[in-house]
């Protein structure tokens, strides 16, 4: 692999120096393109109080192609599947090189606040969300307590 592009170095520096509130991202010791991410469940969402672990990888073509992000912590969300894969437009076709790790993580946090069951990835969850939103939110709360409670 060629040396780390200036962009990645700069972004990493900035992420460490001025972290986004409620989000922490730090590069892996052995691979500067691999980040360990912790996202706090947003306030007034069923994920409140949870601490979600994610992994983020910057592919060779970054920033021309989107970073790969995945939830490591189990989460009950219509746009996040069992494997932790995320259905988010800016991670797919709406990616723009002007976006950054910071903006991606903010979008993911926003997705936690505003689930979109009309464009589902986890079909069973989305179905539940549509049929009985209250129960679905309660389930999400349970999962947050069970899998994502901060120690």
């Amino acid at each position: 692999m060629a040396g780390l592009p200036r962009r990645i170095i700069k972004e990493t520096q900035r992420l460490m120096a001025e972290p986004v509130p409620g989000i922490s991202a730090s590069p892996d010791e052995s691979n500067a393109r691999y980040f360990h991410v912790l996202v706090q469940g947003p306030k007034d969402s069923p994920y409140e109080g949870g601490m979600f672990k994610l992994e983020l990888f910057l592919p060779e073509e970054y920033p021309m192609s989107a970073p790969k992000v995945r939830f490591m912590t189990k989460i009950y969300h219509p746009n996040i599947d069992k494997l932790g894969r995320i259905c988010l437009d800016i991670l797919k076709d709406k990616w723009s090189p002007a976006l950054q790790i910071r903006t991606v993580l903010l979008s993911i946090q926003a997705l936690l606040s505003a689930p979109n069951p009309d464009d589902p990835l986890a079909n069973d969850v989305a179905e539940k969300w549509k049929v009985d939103e209250k129960a679905a939110i309660e389930e999400a709360r349970n999962w947050t307590r069970k899998y994502a409670s901060a120690q």
Binding site: E11, E61, P63, K94, S96, P97, A98
Partner: protein
């Protein structure tokens, strides 16, 4: 003299129209003066002398003496609303420009600081450095996206025009690919709309991006072409055509001609591409033999298959003119059935030859079996068709 006056009058007009912008109330007052001034001016114009004319007062009073011919602002296609800059705005802008022109600008993609002259933007004004644009276009084109490349800015829908892309692209081979894909022979994948070019003789296409299998000729799903009933080669005539108008009949006739011609033309192009396939096969055989995967003899069947493929393509090519001139009836039905069978088998063989990765040692292998079955077709039916065709001519 009249000329000079007019020029003054025009510049006076400009200054007043600016004042209009600044202060609407004032302009209303001026308007009320306008009518008086116009008549005054008309009178004075004839017997006006240089010495007598008071330029200063003329300016102050005069406004729209050319207004009669002047169309309304909204009629003027080049008219646009503008705002006058205040002194401090101008100073700020000038300072800013100095700061960026003299200093450095940071590219939002690669985060490097460079002089502003290395930056480019589309009409939307999103500035990125030349290198980032270049890499961005390269990646898009490599993925087969050539139409609808958008600005790199987040949620910016402005499309990059061809000359912009060609100017920035540094790799000539990609520029060629870009122009080729944009302007010449390619189709768009019916599923994901990526541009696909034909790099072999086979009509069975597979999208590199979404792996969708489709037919080069009709863009339909390949599933309907494969095994049983190959419909793509048959022209479905409108059974009711006799009752249609002459106009519709002519259009139908043209459609029918184009249908057959396209397929004829396609096979002749494919035939040329098969030549390339043959070359690829030769190099591949050499590679394989070098890598100890099979012996030279094991791979000879590919060359046989390619040679047969060429013959079949040639035959198929000429079945289309024949079918075009054939009269409707049982004979044509039979002919078309055989043609369709041959077509399906040829595409099947073509697909397999281009992708053959194994030799036939030990295990039964479809690729090797195919030439034989086609050979039967070719000998029994196709050759007969061509001979028939020649006799027919």
């Amino acid at each position: 003299m009249a000329n000079i006056n007019k020029r003054y009058a025009i510049s006076g007009l400009e200054s007043t129209s600016r004042r209009y912008k600044e202060d609407n109330k004032m302009s209303v007052e001026m308007k009320s003066q306008d009518s008086d001034n116009d008549s005054e001016y008309d009178q004075s114009d004839d017997h006006m002398e240089d010495e007598d004319f008071d330029y200063a007062s003329y300016y102050d009073n005069d406004t729209d003496d050319l207004d009669i011919d002047k169309p309304k602002k909204s009629d003027d296609p080049e008219y646009f609303e503008f705002k006058l800059l205040q002194v401090e705005d101008v100073e700020r802008l000038l300072n800013e420009e100095e700061a960026t022109a003299g200093g450095q600008h940071t590219c939002p993609v690669c985060f490097r600081s460079m002089p502003l002259r290395d930056f480019f933007s589309l009409v939307c004004g999103h500035l990125f450095c030349r290198e980032c644009w270049d890499v961005f276009f390269q990646i898009q084109i490599q993925q087969g996206i050539t139409t609808g490349i958008e600005c790199m800015g987040n949620e910016c829908k402005i499309l990059a025009p061809e000359d912009f892309i060609c100017n920035i692209l540094s790799k000539p081979e990609l520029r060629d690919k870009y122009t080729q894909l944009s302007f010449t022979d390619h189709v768009k994948c019916p599923k994901c709309h990526v541009c696909i070019e034909k790099n072999g003789g086979c009509n069975h296409m597979q999208c590199t991006k979404c792996k969708y299998n489709f037919c080069w000729m009709c863009l339909g799903d390949w599933k309907t072409h494969g095994s049983e009933y190959y419909e793509c080669s048959r022209y479905k005539e409108n059974p009711n055509i006799v009752n249609e108008s002459a106009h519709a009949q002519a259009r139908e006739a043209l459609k029918k001609y184009l249908f057959y011609f396209e397929r004829y033309e396609n096979h002749s192009k494919s035939l040329q591409l098969e030549e390339q396939t043959l070359m690829k096969i030769t190099t591949r055989i050499q590679e394989k033999v070098m890598n100890q995967t099979g012996t030279w003899i094991d791979w000879q069947y590919l060359l046989d298959a390619a040679a047969l493929l060429r013959k079949c393509r040639y035959t198929l090519q000429y079945t289309y003119p024949y079918a075009y001139y054939m009269e409707k009836g049982a004979r044509k039905q039979l002919f078309e059935y055989q043609q369709a069978q041959l077509e399906a088998e040829v595409e099947n063989l073509s697909w397999k030859v281009e992708r053959a990765e194994i030799t036939d040692r030990g295990a039964p292998n479809a690729v090797k079996r195919f030439p034989r079955s086609i050979k039967q077709y070719w000998v029994t039916n196709s050759l007969q068709m061509v001979i028939d065709f020649l006799v027919y001519l």
